[in-house]
């Protein structure tokens, strides 16, 4: 059933989230918050070198140390053959995943794990790590993406031959693949352009920088049963990867989802779990592992840094006739940057007849990238939306008008093929035009920037259960870890269908043995896909309750209607009966068919794309190059906001992450290829005093595929900020900043260069 046009009592309100009290009182149990009798501490030995052959590893001294119970190296793990998989948030090769968790013959980046110990105390574990004797043969390394593509670059994988080019290369390369998207004939169409603008843009790798470091606790029982308590965006993902990397049946692994302290895409892979299980198996004790903050930066995935060139040709009236983009994305030490979405998202906001896009997926001696909010889209959009601003300036045209003129609408054929359906981009642009911020006069010395963004959003597999308890209260269980309030939104959708207050429904996240498979929390899919499953489960429960009421009243089920949380006779002909509410029906459940519950599994399709537009005002200190965000407004089509506060929160948080990406966040390497700023002191995420209030404006163009019209909302908001800020700096100073981050030294240097 579809509720888009019905009057809603719960959906759209702002109740307190079910897990709220636990989280404001310190009771919520995160990954590192559990302890077990006889528990050991597991610690990882990580490479100090960015590229080296492992000649030998001697663990004998560490094993001999009192208090050490197990030491493992790659020799303790199956040698996984190359096999493509798509269990996480991007194409992943299981062999690469295994080698990323534990290096076998080569270390490919500083921080690459190559051994682990389990000891009775953390201090002993640290001492044991120091006793492991590793002989390295140091190899030349390469950090920069263009240097990695050079013909004479040090090769990371001698079995990597560039895919997507024919004939198949005979020489190994750091270019994992080349992808191209073509629509029409861009080269020819540029000849018809009155104006052509072009630019080269670079972005730096940035880390998701969730505040909770990766952590887990694992027990391998003598009967081969494995239990894992860990923090991830998907406990089914943890089970699948751990099973694969250790050669264990999934049925023997039970993963309990801890509360997750932020993920943003970065907790869609395993780093510790298979190692902790292996240590536990060897030691016969429970093992707890926890990354240090330095480990998180050096050994878990940031997103790609990139080099991009963009060229756009337009008529005098602003009509774009041709566009071309070349993207070179860093994948880290193993193939798999978000180059596909990078190629598809940059121009997805526009209706363009001729487009030519080429993308390169390039490995270098950096940590393997992981997903980060709308993977690839923020990078490509920084380039395209910066150049769109230049085009508007060049044409003497308002940047909003330029976008309106070329805006993608329903029926617009994208450059990567599919036709846009049910999209709200023009509605978002209308909201920009109508917003006071867009019309407000600029303060002295300030500049204003506008940028827009697109993300696909995904659906996928989810399972939900709705139980009516014996007293008529309701428990909703799903397999989706709750990162940002999804317990609340799921419970609200269930409550809406059942016609009860949100407080009647308690939502829980069930472990891998207690609910059907659910794809991980990512791709902005939970409220859409898991919400769809939960809504359908609640509808099944309502049908069952109507049947039970009919049975109780001994009338046909067609004569029963469900409203406001109770069964009523449908009209006077049905007979005069007192309504039966959940409690009354639950009380008699034993006489009407037993326990009242429904489980629904879906593979939700048609997630409904999301579009956003951000308006940013900045002031710039010409002497220091310091950029201050003075005002920020983020407008987004969210389909339908189930719990508006948490939708706004997603948008505000995404914008703030974008502000950090734009102004200060970067990986700084020394000449040896070692990261120099692996901590929150020098990896500068925004602090409370760095940002203003961020106004989130919700545009609601319903997604017909979702019962309440919801679209994913978590990823779009990180797409526009970098260009919005760059365009604001351009407006305030006349300076175009093509390289991220737009940090004070770069801005000051730009002033000096401009003279």
């Amino acid at each position: 059933m579809n509720y888009v046009d019905s009057s809603l009592k719960v959906v759209g309100t702002r109740p307190i989230r079910p897990d709220g009290v636990d989280k404001v009182t310190g009771r919520a149990v995160f990954a590192a918050d559990t302890h077990a009798a006889g528990m050991l501490w597991g610690k990882m030995l990580r490479s100090p070198h960015s590229h080296a052959k492992i000649v030998s590893i001697d663990t004998s001294k560490a094993e001999a140390l009192k208090g050490v119970f197990a030491v493992v190296t790659a020799a303790d793990f199956p040698d996984i053959p190359s096999e493509e998989a798509f269990v996480g948030e991007g194409p992943m090769n299981f062999r690469d995943l295994a080698l990323n968790c534990m290096a076998r013959t080569k270390v490919l980046y500083e921080g690459h794990a190559l051994a682990a110990v389990a000891a009775s105390t953390q201090a002993i574990a640290d001492e044991a790590l120091a006793l492991i004797d590793v002989k390295y043969e140091i190899l030349p390394h390469v950090i920069d993406v263009e240097a990695a593509m050079a013909p004479d670059a040090p090769i990371l994988h001698d079995d990597m031959f560039t895919a997507g080019v024919s004939p198949k290369p005979t020489k190994p390369s750091n270019i994992a693949k080349v992808v191209t998207f073509k629509k029409g004939d861009a080269e020819a169409a540029f000849k018809d352009a009155d104006v052509i603008v072009e630019g080269v843009y670079t972005t730096q790798p940035v880390h998701q920088a969730y505040i909770e470091p990766h952590a887990c606790m694992a027990t391998y029982a003598p009967d081969g049963q494995v239990s894992i308590h860990s923090s991830s965006q998907g406990h089914f993902m943890v089970r699948a990867y751990t099973a694969k990397l250790l050669g264990i049946n999934m049925s023997n692994i039970r993963v309990n989802p801890a509360e997750i302290g932020g993920g943003f895409g970065g907790k869609t892979l395993v780093y510790l779990e298979p190692i902790a299980v292996a240590l536990s198996k060897k030691a016969g004790r429970t093992v707890k592992m926890q990354m240090t903050r330095e480990d998180v930066f050096k050994a878990s995935g940031p997103t790609s840094g990139a080099w991009m060139s963009v060229r756009i040709g337009a008529k005098k009236d602003g009509t774009i006739v041709a566009a071309k983009q070349v993207l070179k994305f860093q994948a880290g030490a193993f193939a798999g940057s978000p180059i596909g979405p990078g190629c598809m998202c940059g121009f997805a906001m526009y209706d363009l007849p001729n487009v030519d896009v080429v993308g390169y997926d390039v490995v270098s001696n950096r940590p393997k990238v992981a997903a980060y909010r709308a993977p690839g889209a923020p990078i490509t959009s920084f380039a395209v939306e910066s150049l769109m601003d230049e085009l508007a300036l060049n044409l003497g045209m308002d940047p909003l008008t330029l976008r309106e003129k070329n805006a993608a609408k329903n029926g617009t054929k994208t450059h990567y093929g599919p036709t846009h359906v049910n999209i709200g981009y023009t509605a978002v642009l209308d909201a920009v035009k109508a917003h006071p911020h867009w019309k407000a006069p600029l303060k002295e010395g300030q500049g204003r920037g506008l940028a827009t963004g697109f993300w696909f959003n995904i659906g996928g597999e989810s399972t939900a259960q709705v139980h009516v308890n014996e007293d008529g209260s309701v428990t909703a269980a799903t397999g989706s870890p709750d990162i940002g309030g999804s317990r609340a939104s799921i419970g609200m959708m269930v409550a809406e269908v059942l016609g009860v207050p949100a407080t009647t429904v308690r939502t829980i996240v069930a472990d891998t043995a207690s609910i059907g498979f659910t794809h991980l929390t990512g791709g902005s899919r939970v409220t859409f896909a898991t919400g769809m499953a939960a809504t359908q489960a609640a509808e099944k429960v309502v049908e069952d309750l109507k049947r039970r009421a009919a049975q109780t009243w001994d009338i046909p089920v067609e004569a029963v209607e469900w409203k406001d949380g109770a069964a009523y006779p449908a009209g006077s002909n049905a007979g005069a009966f007192e309504p039966l509410d959940l409690a009354a029906l639950a009380l008699k459940a034993g006489r009407t068919g037993g326990p009242i519950l429904a489980e629904v599994s879906v593979n939700a399709q048609g997630a409904g794309a999301g579009f956003g537009a951000h308006i940013c005002d900045v002031s710039v200190d010409k002497e220091t190059g310091h950029v201050k965000i003075e005002r920020y407004t983020a407008i987004q089509d969210v389909g339908k906001a189930i719990h508006p506060s948490y939708v706004e929160g997603q948008i505000q948080g995404g914008a703030a992450q974008g502000i950090g990406w734009a102004l200060n966040e970067e990986y700084i390497y020394n000449a040896k290829g070692q990261m120099e700023n692996a901590g929150f002191l020098d990896y500068r995420v925004p602090v409370a005093s760095d940002v203003p209030m961020i106004e989130a404006v919700l545009v609601e163009v319903p997604n017909p595929r979702h019962p309440f019209g919801a679209r994913g909302v978590g990823e779009v908001p990180i797409v526009p900020p970098m260009a919005a800020i760059a365009n604001a700096i351009r407006s305030a100073t006349g300076l175009r900043m093509p390289d991220l981050p737009m940090s004070p030294p770069k801005v000051r240097a730009a002033f000096d260069a401009a003279g």
């Binding site: 869609t268 993308g359 902005s524």
Partner: protein, 83 residues
């Protein structure tokens, strides 16, 4: 008979000798994959592992039953993940 377009950005072309458009007699995604694998050995596996299908503008991932109409617009594109 629906026309299937192999989006140029997808890794599938290595199996088709560069061909990107095919007329395929198929009424759902699974039958489409089987037919393409028959014509271009390896392409089916490639689609299974790393590609999604967009039918009339809506992206379907791992949905064998997704229905194809005779006049459907069908694109095979890289699979989409997310953060």
């Amino acid at each position: 008979m629906p026309t299937v377009v192999l989006a140029s950005g997808s890794a599938g072309q290595q199996f088709t000798g560069g061909q990107t458009e095919f007329e395929v007699e198929a009424t759902n995604f699974r039958r489409l994959v089987l037919e393409l694998e028959r014509r271009f050995p390896g392409l089916g596996k490639q689609i299974e592992e790393s590609m999604a299908i967009a039918i009339d503008g809506e992206i379907f991932q791992d949905a064998y039953a997704a229905e194809l109409k005779p006049n459907s617009e069908i694109y095979l594109i890289p699979k989409i993940g997310g953060g």
